[in-house]
Amino acid sequence: MSKILLVIERDLQSLIRHKSILVMRWFFVIVQIGIFGLAVSRLVVVMPNYYNYYAMGVIVMTMYSVAIFTGYEIYDEADDGFVEYLLSLPITRRELVLGRSLAGGLRSFIFMSPIIAVFLLIIGILDPLKLLTALAALYGFAFGVSGLSITLAVGLKSGDRFDIIMGALDAFIVRLSTALYPLAFMPGPIAAVSMFNPLSYATDLFRWSLNFNMRFLANPAVALVVLVIFLMTFNFAGVMIYERNLEGGSWR
């Protein structure tokens, strides 16, 4: 366990090295919520309080994009020859990948915590138990996304292919979810895909914890189950693929 904690500590420290990226992400959140969110909520006529709905979605969406960053770091490490150093350490592959996934989720959480705190202050913290459940679920979601990112990165072992797939995935995963708009307003095919998207459940669970109108949200129990399955699947897959693929170089 202490070795996993060491891996987590190391990855958390790397968050501080990428200060400019963090500052830009914060700025992105502020512009999205402060300009785009306000403007679009003025246009929306079918739903009261769309602005809060949207702001909550942007918070979770940004947690997703920070958690995905772990995969890009793996390629930077492969480029710098750092992977072989990690493999030489007295730590099992399993501990390494679990530590990295946990750290990825924690980084995303730490990064968004000031914005979440300010948002909670503005709208008022309501039921602490519900909020705790939602924050735990958000962390679980970010943990799962880190696992997904590691799984893809190590599975592909090609920086270019990873870049292309993540670019495409990023664009569609957000728009094919309830991060920006409720399921009720999506046409059939878009709604069908959104129902399989863990980002939909993570954002709806966060909204449920802040007492948003349940009419526009997924069932919180279902959301919890989906998130648990998601994080277990991708971290299990990440461990297996990481253990097999990390050896022997051949990074492209």
Binding site: S20, V23, M24, F27, F28, V31, Q32, I35, F36, L38, A39, V40, R42, L43, V44, V45, V46, M47, Y50, D163, I164, M166, G167, A168, D170, A171, F172, V174, R175, L176, L180, Y181, F185, M186, P187, I190
Partner: protein
Amino acid sequence: MAGLISMNLADLLIMAVVYTKMVSFNYFKFVAPGIVAVGLFAAAFVIGREVNNETRKGYNQYLLSLPIRRFELIIGRMIAGGARGLIYAIPLLVLAMWILTFPSVTQLGLIIFAMFLLGMGISGLAISLAVILRSFERFTTARSLIYLLLIFCSTVFYPLAVLQQLFGGILVIFAEANPLSTVSDLLRGYLMGTPPVTFFSWTELLLFSTVFILAGAGLYSLAIERSV
């Protein structure tokens, strides 16, 4: 580029389709010209990263050794930046025309000219940034800032009237002067009939492009000489 294409298509074919059901007008038709402008902008800006890489890695010395005059090199890169943006945006334009209406030959010519002008202006802006901010990290930070400001403080995704209702002062002035707003509204004017295309819109676009083409060319010529 794959990420860029995905984002533009996802914005138009998913986000705009859903928002159309949530607002009181045809948002899908409204945003289509805006997506064309965003696509053009992002593709034309790519030259900035390339110039920044070349400046940092000493590639400029190789370019200077080629049997090409300085001004030919500079003009060539500016035109290439604009052309690249235009080539990338043409499929999006065709999609927008298919959604809205096919313009007359004259209007189409004017649309392509406006897009090429924007592309060259954006390339000039990107090259200016790339040579001023030699550090890759500073360049990517500035680029992200510019992306955010130009895309979200514009009429790409919402009418100017909404920004005027919500904000005042400098943000609205920025949105009005924003070349992405100008080209989005020009495209709407030619493809939808509203807002009307005015002489002022063309003047704004010409002014932006001229300033940044000259700035980009001037700064690039200084940068490549300085690196020797």
